[in-house]
């Protein structure tokens, strides 16, 4: 059982944030701007995986269709741009709203099922959204929708610069992680975890379990939508791959790898998986073999994800509460 209190771990998080702030100038100094782009990508996936971790780890809802919200956010920005709306101040909230709305519809129906059936019904809805966007030939169909450029922010901030974009992404991801941390420790988060542990008991003491879970599902969808907004700006392409079930699977793998129900589980999972891909693919074309072996090792030696290793060494971190 995880303890109910999830610390933001300021002693680890603040130095990490400082390092991340110092990262671009260092990379520019040693003339490796590529790593700034890679770091941006990792940050975006850390946000997407964290939103899925909110559903799985705190809400107890294993969704296999999270890419639907990620992709909806991305496509909303792309489609609005085709119609001349390139302001981030309009397109980004609209995209988050669209993802939240999709999550509301899908969640309202799916939450009537449980366990494996919930996994499969979320997959079913995500596939419907995938084929829907693929069928929109006016917006790229199979090939995806190429953007004219990144969104316009104004105030002299130009997202076209990779460094500026990196800082915008970093600010958004850091802010949202802090908010998520606050939320899971607040009344809503505690009630949500009570529902996860025992739905009947939570209902018996007066928490409307269904509504709490739906609210969590919508919130997770909205945050995934925001991650989608960022990835479409990073890639300047809204690709159907963002909506594919493999994408949902990758997000799921990141969460399990990092540690389900740990506040930074999604972050660590995204970091490790994307770095593994990046490093191993430099050495061999058969890098997937290595990734597979390492994932297997994690399953065998760190059954509850990488963060459970850190926790095992400091048993005092696991509180008496539980």
């Amino acid at each position: 059982m995880t303890a109910l209190h999830h610390s933001l771990l300021p002693r680890v998080a603040l130095p990490a944030l400082a390092l991340l702030i110092a990262f671009p100038p260092v990379m520019q100094a040693i003339d490796q701007p590529f790593y700034i782009v890679l770091a941006t990508r990792i940050l975006i996936f850390a946000l997407a995986a964290s939103s899925l971790n909110l559903l799985i780890g705190f809400g107890g809802m294993v969704s296999f269709g999270h890419a639907a919200f990620f992709g909806t956010g991305a496509y909303t920005v792309g489609i609005l741009m085709v119609h001349g709306v390139d302001s981030a101040w309009i397109a980004w909230p609209a995209a988050v709203l669209a993802s939240a709305l999709a999550a509301l519809l899908i969640g309202a129906i799916s939450l009537h099922t449980r366990g494996v059936y919930f996994i499969m019904i979320t997959l079913a809805f995500a596939q419907m959204i995938y084929y829907l966007f693929v069928s929109l030939k006016a917006y790229g169909g199979d090939d995806g929708l190429t953007l004219a450029g990144r969104s316009q922010v104004g105030f002299g901030v130009d997202l076209a610069s990779d460094v500026v974009f990196y800082y915008v992404v970093l600010a958004i991801v850091a802010l949202l992680l802090a908010l998520l941390g606050r939320m899971v420790n607040a009344r809503f988060g505690r009630a949500l975890q009570a529902v996860r542990e025992n739905e009947t008991r939570a209902q018996a003491i007066g928490f409307p379990a269904y509504r709490y879970k739906l609210a969590c599902f919508v919130l997770g969808g909205a945050v995934a939508g925001l991650a989608g907004v960022l990835i479409v700006n990073q890639n300047e392409l809204a690709s159907p791959n963002l909506l594919h079930w493999m994408q949902s699977g990758m997000l799921l793998i990141m969460v399990i790898l990092g540690g389900v129900g740990f506040l930074y589980g999604g972050v660590l999972g995204a970091l490790v998986l994307l770095l593994l891909e990046e490093t191993l693919s430099e050495y061999t074309i058969h890098w997937q073999f290595g990734v597979g072996l390492i994932l297997l090792a994690v399953v065998l030696f760190a059954p509850n994800g990488l963060l459970s290793l850190a926790q095992r060494r400091t048993p005092s971190a696991r509180g008496a509460s539980g």
Partner: protein
């Protein structure tokens, strides 16, 4: 409506449904009895097809290659079960997802190392390459008829095995209440390995039979795996009968949807819109079917757990 076309598409639907059943049967039993989500089931399908494509080069006989591939894949499946998957039965579903996803990566990449990334050619037997005239005006490829025949025979044999034999009884007991079967003295270790090997052989059979129709390539397992999961969820996890009904349902709905939907859309919409919308709606159909089944029957059509 063109009756000949409709008949032809019905046969195609039957053929697709039966192949899905071969995959889904093993998947649903492993899921139902061992309580294990095996994402790597599609990899066994791929291994079967690759083995057959290789063996046919050595033996020149499709039948020998088929039998060799079945035996090889069953052995491979049993080895996987004994060495690794066995330790995962007691773990939670998410751990199983991560572990079997890792297996997909390893098996896919291993296949690429051995056979390269080019798609392999697996030819149907020459004797069956031509069409057969079933009815005046209705010709149908002989090889596809063979697939339907084999599919029907295996489905019938499996049904008899599961419902009328002692082994089948143990399997059903395991699926409906694992702990009780254990208590009653079923040798579960051996049963689990046998079920896993049989499931591997069945999915290899689907892989070999579909090989000449689709490309034998890395990644072929994943696209069909999702459909197999759809099938077992519609049918009810752990139920072989449910897997058969679910597979045929998905096969017919998908195949007929792809032909009939664009045609009927064309009568109400401009052709341009219809040709764009038709295929997408047809792909969506089976997922709508699954969502609808789960909404009204949250345990699938034939729940195995009593």
């Amino acid at each position: 409506m063109d009756l000949i076309l409709l008949l032809e598409q019905t046969l195609n639907g039957l053929q697709f449904g039966l192949m899905l059943f071969l995959l889904a049967a093993g998947l649903t039993l492993v899921f139902g009895i061992m309580d294990m989500i095996n994402l790597a089931h599609g990899s066994l399908y791929m291994v079967g097809a690759y083995l057959a494509a290789t063996l046919i080069g050595y033996t020149g006989s499709f039948t020998l290659a088929l039998l060799g591939a079945l035996a090889g894949t069953a052995l491979f499946g049993a080895a996987l079960e004994v060495s690794l998957l066995r330790t995962l039965y007691q773990r939670d579903h998410l751990t199983q997802v991560l572990a079997t996803f890792a297996l997909i990566l390893i098996i896919n990449e291993g296949t690429r190392m051995i056979w390269g990334s080019q798609a392999l050619l697996l030819n149907a037997p020459d004797a069956l390459s031509g069409p057969v005239e079933l009815l005046p005006g209705l010709t149908y490829p002989a090889y596809r008829l063979l697939i339907i025949g084999v599919g029907l025979a295996v489905a019938a044999a499996l049904y008899l095995l599961v419902t009328h034999t002692r082994i089948g009884m143990l399997v059903r007991a395991g699926a409906s209440n694992r702990e009780m079967a254990l208590t009653m003295g079923v040798n579960v270790k051996r049963l689990f390995t046998a079920v896993f090997a049989a499931g591997a052989a069945l999915s290899a059979l689907a892989g070999v039979l579909l090989g000449p129709l689709l490309a034998v390539q890395v990644g072929m397992g994943e696209s069909i795996l999702i459909l197999a999961f759809v099938v077992i969820v519609i049918g009810g996890i752990g139920s072989v009968r449910g897997a058969l009904v679910g597979a045929l349902l998905v096969g017919f709905v998908d195949t007929l949807g792809r032909t009939l939907l664009p045609m009927s859309l064309r009568t109400v919409l401009p052709p341009q819109v219809a040709s764009n919308l038709g295929p997408a709606l047809a792909s969506i159909l089976i997922y709508v079917l699954m969502a609808a089944v789960l909404f009204w029957r949250p345990q699938g059509l034939f729940p195995a757990r009593g």
